[in-house]
Amino acid sequence: MRVVVQKEPFDLGAEANAFAAADTGMGAIVTFTGVVRDLAQGDLDVMEIEHYPGMTEKALTRIATEAQERWSLGDVLVIHRYGRLAPGDRIMMVATAAPHRKDAFEAAEYLMDYLKSRAPFWKKEITGTGAGWVAAKDEDEDALTRW
């Protein structure tokens, strides 16, 4: 398991290749990558991501550990950035390896659902006209009920 919280950009392709190469006994590899979208109608200049150093790593490690206990998995990777990002920038990625595709998919979705609502990150959108914290969505909290 690898959990990374960093300010710097990451290379999706290099991470995906390294992840896949490290776990050759697995038949299925799933990656999810989150990208900064311009939600504020073409007006988003900066997405600022705040986090809780210490708790972030702890929460992500716990979520990844729970996924590994729940599904038959190989390795798990979680990368999440903080700081100032621009539209189009990649915020985060998860990767899962498993003998079977169902486990790899479900574990990746589980990681994403928990990461969204249980890892201490907060997004602030800075637009041409002001700045505002992104509100948590009910649907993200509801997504946890399926697990």
Partner: protein, 81 residues
């Protein structure tokens, strides 16, 4: 104990963290003490349903005990991913 604030809670209170001497037994009691201090705390803690709390970096409830806790953090619902 150390009390930390994140996102708009931090902005309303004006500091990211502070040292608080308290006899509060629970998170709820600590919140009441803070709200009584100054309007900026009152503003930050006006709606507890909009807040989350972590005790020593684990999510907790507002009725959780503060016994042995060294770090309390208040923040809005998380929006990672």
């Amino acid at each position: 104990m150390d009390v930390l604030y994140f996102a708009w809670v931090r902005e309303r209170i004006g500091v990211p963290r502070e040292r608080v001497e308290t006899g509060a037994q629970t998170v709820a009691q600590l919140v009441e003490e803070l709200r009584a201090r100054e309007p900026r705390y009152e503003a930050a803690f006006a709606d507890l349903t909009a807040l989350r709390v972590a005790l020593d970096q684990d999510l907790a409830d507002f009725d959780a005990s503060l016994s042995g806790v060294r770090e309390v953090a208040f923040f809005p619902p998380m929006t990672g991913g």
